[in-house]
Symmetry: C3
C-alpha cells in the first residue's frame, strides 16, 4: 500500500465528529494513508473562500497528494462530484468552484465524474457525502485504484473568477478578497504589481487611511500602526504591526483599496 | 508493534497543550500508533453530549480502533476508570456514561476497571488522568498488552438513556438532542419513524414553525427556508438551506418537536 | 529515514491553511515524519504565553522529538532564528523567548543560529518563516542532517523570567500566569510551596474571595464553588467545580493571589 498524503479541507468545524469520521472511513480502507488537515473552519458553505485558501496552500504539499475538499452546500442535490488529476496532484470534491482557483495553475490531465457506486460506502446518505462518497474515493485512490474506474471522463468543471484589479491611468483599484487569522487584509493586487508601483511616489487608500510606502515586513512600522506589505501568498496585504487590521479598520471581504501614483 | 488507530475525544479544547501532551505520552510508548482526533470541543464537562457524538461516529473507524474518551469532570474523585472490549473496538475512559450510548450497539466482550498502576505514568496527578492514566493505558493496549492485565474484570458501567420520543394517537412528541456546527437541530426521532409518518399528511411543529413535508436534502427548499430532513446519523433534523437553524429559530438542546398526522 | 516526531506549536489558529502548509512542506522533505499538534491557538504574538504552554507539555514527548515553535511577531526583521539541541530534544523557532522557559529545565548541548539558506525553501518570504525556514529545517533535521550544518554555533538565546512569588513573613504573594480552556487560574505558586503552607492554618485570597483549604481535586467541593488545587503542571490553581473560574471571578493573567498563614 502506498503511503500517500491526503489533505483534508472542509467547512465542518471542530465541534462534531464529522472530520474524524471521514478519517475513520479513510483509515478503514487504507491504514497507511497520511492524513493532514488543511483547515476545517472555512466559513459555512463559502466555496469561494475555500478556493482562495486552497490556492494559497496546495503547492507546498508533496507530489501525489490527494486534496479532499468538501464544502458542500448542495449535498444530495444534482451537483456533480469530481476527481481531477493534474501533473502533480489529485483533487476530489463536489464540483462547485472550490477547486477551480487552484486548478488555474495546474496542468490538468484528467477529470472524472464520480459515479461508480462500487467505491462509495454501501449506504449513501443525502446529507454527508464527505463521509459516504469523497472519503472512500480518496482512500481507494490512495491505494492505487486507477482514476478511470471512479466514473466517466468529463471536460467541464465549475470555475470561479477572482476579479483582477482595475488598472487605470492614476493607478490601480482593487479589493480585499480574504482576511486571515491575524486580521491581515489580503487583496487581489499582486506583489509584483505593487512592487512596481512603489518605485514611484505611491499612495494606498483604504477606508479613511492613507499608506505611503510598501513595508518590508510586519514590524517595519511602530506597533499598532497600519502598513502595507507583500504577504506570503504574493499579494498586497494591509496589516497592523502586532494588531488586527480587520477589527481596527472595520474592513472586510470586498472592502475597496485604491493605489494612486503621481 | 501494531499500527493501530487510537481515536481521541475530549472536552480539552485547542487552547492548551492538553491534547498534544496526551499524544506525546502515547507516542513515547508506541511510536507506531495512528492518532486521529474525533473532537476536542465537547462542551466542558458534558458527558451526555460526548456520548451522542461518539455514537454517531465510532462505527466508521477501522476494526480494532481504540477510542480514548476523556470528558472527566470527576477526575481525581472516586469515579471509576474503565476499558471496554467489544467485538470490533476498544473504549477507554472515566466511567461516567460518555461511552454508554455507543456501547448500546456493540457486543461487549469484557470490561476491566483500570487499577493496575504498572501501566500508568509514574506520577499520577489528581487533575489530568487523560495524560497520566488513559493515554498510557491506550498506548500499552495498542502495543498488544492483554486487556486483563490492566485491572479487575467488572460487569457494570454507567449508562445514559436518550429519551425515546413519545408516540401517541395524533403522532409523535420528540425533542432536539444535539446541535451541530451548521446549527442543524438533530432530534431523537429516528429516520425510519419520520419516513413512515411522512407517507400520510404530516405536520412538524417546532417553536412557532410548521413544516409540512420531509425534504430529500438540505437544498430541497429555497435558501433561507426551514426544512426537515433525515440527517447523516439517521435522525430527523431541522435545518435551514445555507443557514443556521439554531440561531434563526432560537432552538437549543431540549427544544420540543411535535409531529401530527391527520 | 527516521520516524521522528515533530510537535508543532504556533499562534496561526485554524482558519487559514498556515499550519497545513507547514505540514505539507515537512512531508515533502520527510514523508515519514510523525506530526503532532501541540496547539495553534496561542494568543496572537504572545510569546510569553507560548513559553508557559511549551514548558508544561514538552517533557511528555518521546526522546528526540523536534519542537517547532513559531510565534513570530518579528518575522522578516533582524530577530534571529535558532535551533537548540538538549540532551533529550530539539527546539526550533524564532529567538524571542518562547523556547526559554522550557530550556530552563533542559541540559543544553548546542545552539545554532539558522543561517544556511541551503536548508530553507528556495524563495523565502518576509512574512511566513514558519513555512519557508522553520518547517524545512525541522524536516531536514528529522532526516538526520547534523545540527551544525544549519548555521553557526552560538551561546546566547533570549530568556523570559516567570516572576517567582514573593515570600514574606505572613505568607506568599503570587499571581495568575495562565488561564486554561476550562477557565482554571494557574498561578506562579508551586505545588510544593502551597502544600507546605497548607500544613498550617492558611487563607488564600484572590479578588474578593477567601479559600481556606487545599482541595485534593476539582470535585472536592460543591459544584459551582471556588476551590484551590495543585494542578497537573504542579502549580497552585484556583478553579470552580464544573464551572469557569476566570469568567465567574473576572480574573485574568496578572490577577494577584495572596496566601497568609497564621
Amino acid at each position: 500500500m502506498k503511503k500517500r498524503s491526503i489533505a483534508l479541507m472542509t467547512d465542518f468545524g471542530y465541534k462534531d465528529g464529522f472530520v474524524g469520521t471521514m478519517k475513520g472511513v479513510i483509515l478503514s480502507i487504507n491504514p497507511h494513508a497520511v492524513l493532514v488537515d488543511l483547515t476545517h473552519t472555512i466559513s459555512p458553505h463559502n466555496t469561494l473562500e475555500a478556493s482562495i485558501v486552497l490556492r494559497t496552500s496546495y503547492h507546498f504539499f508533496p507530489k501525489g497528494t490527494i486534496f479532499l475538499v468538501v464544502i458542500d452546500p448542495g449535498v444530495g442535490s444534482t451537483r456533480r462530484s469530481i476527481l481531477v488529476e493534474t501533473e502533480k496532484y489529485f483533487f476530489i470534491g463536489p464540483d462547485n468552484g472550490a477547486l477551480s482557483i487552484a486548478l488555474e495553475n495546474e496542468k490538468i490531465k484528467k477529470i472524472v465524474e464520480l459515479t461508480n457506486k462500487k467505491y462509495f460506502l454501501q449506504d449513501v446518505s443525502n446529507t454527508f457525502h464527505g463521509r459516504d462518497i469523497f472519503a472512500p474515493v480518496a482512500a481507494q485512490l490512495s491505494k492505487g485504484v486507477p482514476i478511470s474506474r471512479f466514473g466517466e471522463l468529463t471536460k467541464e468543471y465549475k470555475k470561479f473568477t477572482i476579479l483582477s484589479p482595475r488598472i487605470h491611468r492614476h493607478g490601480v483599484s482593487g479589493k480585499v478578497i480574504y482576511i486571515d487569522h491575524f486580521g491581515n487584509l489580503v487583496t487581489n493586487i499582486s506583489g509584483g504589481m505593487v512592487q512596481k508601483l512603489s518605485l514611484r511616489k505611491m499612495v494606498i487608500k483604504i477606508k479613511d487611511h492613507k499608506i505611503e510606502k510598501l513595508s518590508a515586513n510586519y514590524t517595519d512600522s511602530e506597533p499598532g500602526q497600519i502598513l502595507a506589505v507583500v504577504g506570503s501568498n504574493d499579494c498586497l496585504e494591509i496589516a497592523i504591526n502586532q494588531g488586527n487590521a480587520s477589527q481596527v479598520m472595520k474592513a472586510k471581504e470586498g472592502t475597496e483599496i485604491e493605489i494612486t501614483v503621481g
